[in-house]
Symmetry: D2
Subunit: 364 residues, 4 copies
């Protein structure tokens, strides 16, 4: 037993006096206590506690990736902690059903007392968005507008400073760019890869042309979509074209980072790629779970308020739904399948390349 | 013990010989067996089994509401069975995570062998949509187009016949319309209700005007949205106006049915309204869970295929996301909160009216 | 908008300053900050917030049942709130997986600093157990022993006072006893019921005797168990016998209350029984979910500590597992099926009895 | 597109004609169709489909470990597939809530027609138990007895043959034994490890002695438990002692395999140990989830039948609860924490040992 450890009492350790005395009903303050406001407060407080935990894990991950080098030991820890974040997100999503045990009528009993408080004012949630990489320029107009003007000055300053720091998105991008996966002196990997994908696209066109169940209208529609996939590929191989597409928001990652991620995905069974692949997959999961949370949250708000304005004086759910797609951070990982090949169609890596990879990874 | 009951053997009872011999890999048929195709088949087979169970409950509910009268005993059973459907939907939604344990690469190993099979061809899922009330005219264009032309003739005929029958939506509407909740000879309920809502809207305007955290741009935006809420209310009270809105798709329920549902929601604590309220809430939940399933399913498809075309030769996820909102069936229940008042603001029901209600409900 | 409502700011409303500054690592205090202690603190704080919410609902239910009469309107509210408790319990159970993202090694990094704090010291959890009806006499010996001696005096006094008040268990029992469901002057319900159950038991014996798949040893075992079921029934019908069994812990509810609950279960489709049936079912669910939580919690402790002693200086998991069964509160509801008949075998209620019931229920 | 691939139709591919025509109600056969028997059948059929999927993954893992060598690439695949099994188990556990939407009364309406069918007769579930490593000698007496005598001869023969094959338990044990983690010529690892654990045990004793909140009775109890932990350690270090304990069922793994697993757990951050650690963790999770399933299943049976006998003519739930603990397969992994040290207390590995490890792992 550690020497000189003072005895620790459960309630003091968890500071339950502070925690359990922090639920003051606005409706009580104005003489009309509403039974269900307690649920409203506690649901939001639990969210904030989980946000603090997620931010705790996130910032430890950001520290690791802020260094020049990421050691494999550290990658083990990073993946472990991101999986914890994902498991917490599962709770956050299910928690919406608990909030939905409050009927619109029960909510209306105290809504007016909360004006103009709003979930938009959760600093920790914005820290989470910014820390992951949701920069202002990616937000939809309304969101850009209202992102800050609901906040008190000190909170606004704090978040604006945070936006200037590197987010996990940028750090991941830089880490991917550092992986020298793209030039193998005597081995033209990407040329072979491109040939393979051209074959795949040709076969996809054959599928559409040959599909007896498609109406002509549908077929034209499919071919239009296939063409846009072709254009995406074209962009993938051409630096200039890529940056045009990027500036239009089709890609967020740099070309080099995207290709590195694609490489890792395609050869994820190589033990040396296992941890990087797990890391990329975690970021994809986090993005997916956050998106599902946004969508479910938007539905919950609609169910609670319909077309009514919320406590923040905004009819939130329409806006909230618009953000579910626009606020995707790692969508390039999410869309990776566009560029992927079946294993059988993959260019075989020559032994010396595998060797290089090994060396490369040690250099991680 | 029942007389003359032949002994029953687990495997025979469940017909496991048929069930467990029904997984034939297309990839094996073509000499390249893919380990993960088994998961693909079984996940879809489990969905189909659950769909059969949901249809079993749904058709029993449709039978009850097809009768002239719905007895309270029957309403107990109906609510019980709809809650079972909701609980099954919970599994259907979580099941998507199991499918997502298949990586895009693993899927690509057999995708080409499935062409042009497609989830669009699930007859049971279409039966479910039609049975709930998703008529063709509500589908988005692409969907209208492709709803049938992927199907074999016999399936098409079967579903087209089904579309002509009454769905749960129409039966619920008719049941709501039958509830004589709207005229109380000497008591002008809706006039009082309208006054109360006008007051609420005025107060909401005051909230927006008085909200210091709103930018001018946001404030104008909010006021526009409030005005549209005002217009919605205007439509609610005016039969002609209402049907205009209805024809534009703003409402699906008839005015009379919507008002009846609103009444039940507002006075749900009246024991006599408990079962009808639970029934309406169940339909709302079923719609919500189905919508979440559509959304998660669309994300899963995107993650698996990116911009690639699916086995049905269509790049599904964009289309799928569009359907999540358009294919809402009981959205009027979902938007009910728009028209709701806090309990304190509700008109008090005179004793004789409560009496009438009682009588009315016996008449249910 | 309510007049004179001061503007409300999200962070102030939720008192996030208190909430988010209440995580002090013991390991940091002693100069060896452990990354994962934050998770340990926050998981427990979230539990305590949810406990507060559950206690909030529970005490409102206890208030309702403390009155001489329970109106149906109130029963609607009670059922609604208990369903909320059940939905929160779902989160509490899933939350264990989040705790399990902490490896034993990560826990050992700070375990020694927490001595002798222990979950046994959660006052709110004990309030929950006591409020539901877990009186000291039902606890296992070790638990009886240690229930109080880990607590500070003020906490001990508080809980001992609480134990003297009526719990939901006693109030439910009294409410059930008040339902005059047992004597119908000219109609011998329970006599008929008893005949029906005797027939059922005879048929069960036939099933065992006739089951070709049972070994002789198994068959004797089955017959012994059937006999004990017979004895249970005998006890059910005989007041003296019943109280003997009760004193041995086979029953917790009084005979009269148990019979009333049985009656409600058997005729739950009667609209008038719908709310009472839902109420009983909620209590059963709460008990089941609490039991599952105890079991999963015990496994988690085992996984985290194995045979090691915990921070409370006790090797918890063995003890914890023992409590899962002993601490059941509404086990009589849980075992109700023992005494139930298939609907077809139920005595038909004569019209006048249904009338009485109706009247009775009004009297609720 | 693959050449010569015949068009594939959704319904034919999934063989829905077989699948959806495989629900024959026994109650209908005897002229009293019970609405809820359909749920009963489908729930069990879904279980069997998932069992088939789990067995598909399990047998592929068994194949990998049956070889002399396990390559890291293969370990990647193995871990990926076991995680899929775990995710399916999550559904299996939640599915119990769907079954619980059937009330005891609804079940009693058809129970008698199923006699003597029983879940004990699920061949696939027994294949799963046996494949994981639940050999007959580990089953509780009643289970040993009845494990086979409910089965038809052909099924019995099939399973008895299966019991003779290597299970995942034995293959994992052999793989662990092959890891030369235990002798490092000039480095006495386990001697150092033992010193560290002795210190830990001494400190634990100090904790108990110094704990002011323990009653004397509790303190004696704790010290007894600590002594048994000391004895467990003694057994860990002594080959003879260990096999005594093993023969009494305290351990299932061989001493050598247990020590290897302990080593991997303690140094899991070493990249080379990442996959082996993930593999061990997966087996622990599978065991935990299976145990939770057994427990929840037992509760569900109790709720449905109380003390009644089940369709298999056995009052299942008491027996089922007894199996939850006895049928643990990888309990040694689950109890690993008993022997673990905090990272700070771990012996530092000398560079040359790390080198050896590296070499060793290449040899995996």
């Amino acid at each position: 037993m550690k020497k000189n450890v003072d005895p620790c009492y459960y309630g003091d350790y968890l500071q339950l006096d502070k925690l359990l005395s922090a639920q003051h009903l606005q409706s009580a303050k104005y003489g009309e206590p509403a039974h269900d406001e307690t649920l409203f407060i506690i649901v939001h407080q639990v969210y904030e506690l989980w946000f603090k935990q997620i931010l705790h894990e996130l910032s430890s991950v950001i520290d690791v990736f802020s260094a020049q080098q990421v050691k494999d030991q550290q990658l083990t820890t990073v993946v472990h902690r991101l999986k914890r974040v994902i498991s917490i997100q599962g709770l956050l999503n299910d928690q919406i059903s608990v909030m939905e045990t409050m009927s619109p009528q029960e909510f209306l009993a105290f809504r007016d007392y909360l004006v103009p408080a709003s979930g938009f004012q959760s600093i920790q949630f914005k820290m989470l968005e910014i820390g992951l990489g949701l920069k202002r320029e990616f937000r939809i107009d309304f969101d850009k507008q209202s992102f800050y003007n609901r906040l008190e000055q000190k909170d606004r300053d704090f978040l604006e400073a945070l936006e200037k720091k590197d987010s996990l998105f940028e750090l991941t991008q830089r880490w991917l760019e550092r992986l020298p996966l793209l030039e193998f002196d005597d081995f033209k990997f990407w040329a072979l890869y491109r040939q393979a994908t051209d074959k795949m696209l040709a076969s996809d066109e054959a599928i559409i042309q040959g599909n007896p169940t498609l109406s002509e209208k549908d077929r034209r529609q499919e071919l239009r979509e296939l063409q846009s996939t072709r254009d995406t590929f074209a962009a993938l191989w051409d630096e200039q074209e890529y940056s045009n597409w990027q500036s239009q928001g089709h890609f967020r990652l740099s070309q080099r980072a995207l290709l590195a991620a694609l490489f890792i995905n395609q050869y994820n069974e190589e033990p040396l790629f296992n941890l990087p692949y797990q890391f990329i997959t975690c970021l994809t999961e986090i993005d997916e779970k956050l998106t599902i949370w946004r969508y479910r949250h938007a539905m919950m708000v609609q169910r609670m308020l319909g077309g009514k304005i919320g406590t923040g004086g905004s009819s939130g759910h329409e806006y909230l739904k618009r953000t579910t797609e626009s606020n995707r951070i790692f969508k390039d990982f999410f869309n990776m399948a566009t560029f992927m090949l079946p294993k059988a169609a993959l260019p075989e890596l020559p032994a010396n390349v595998k060797g290089q990879l090994g060396f490369v990874m040690v250099g991680l």
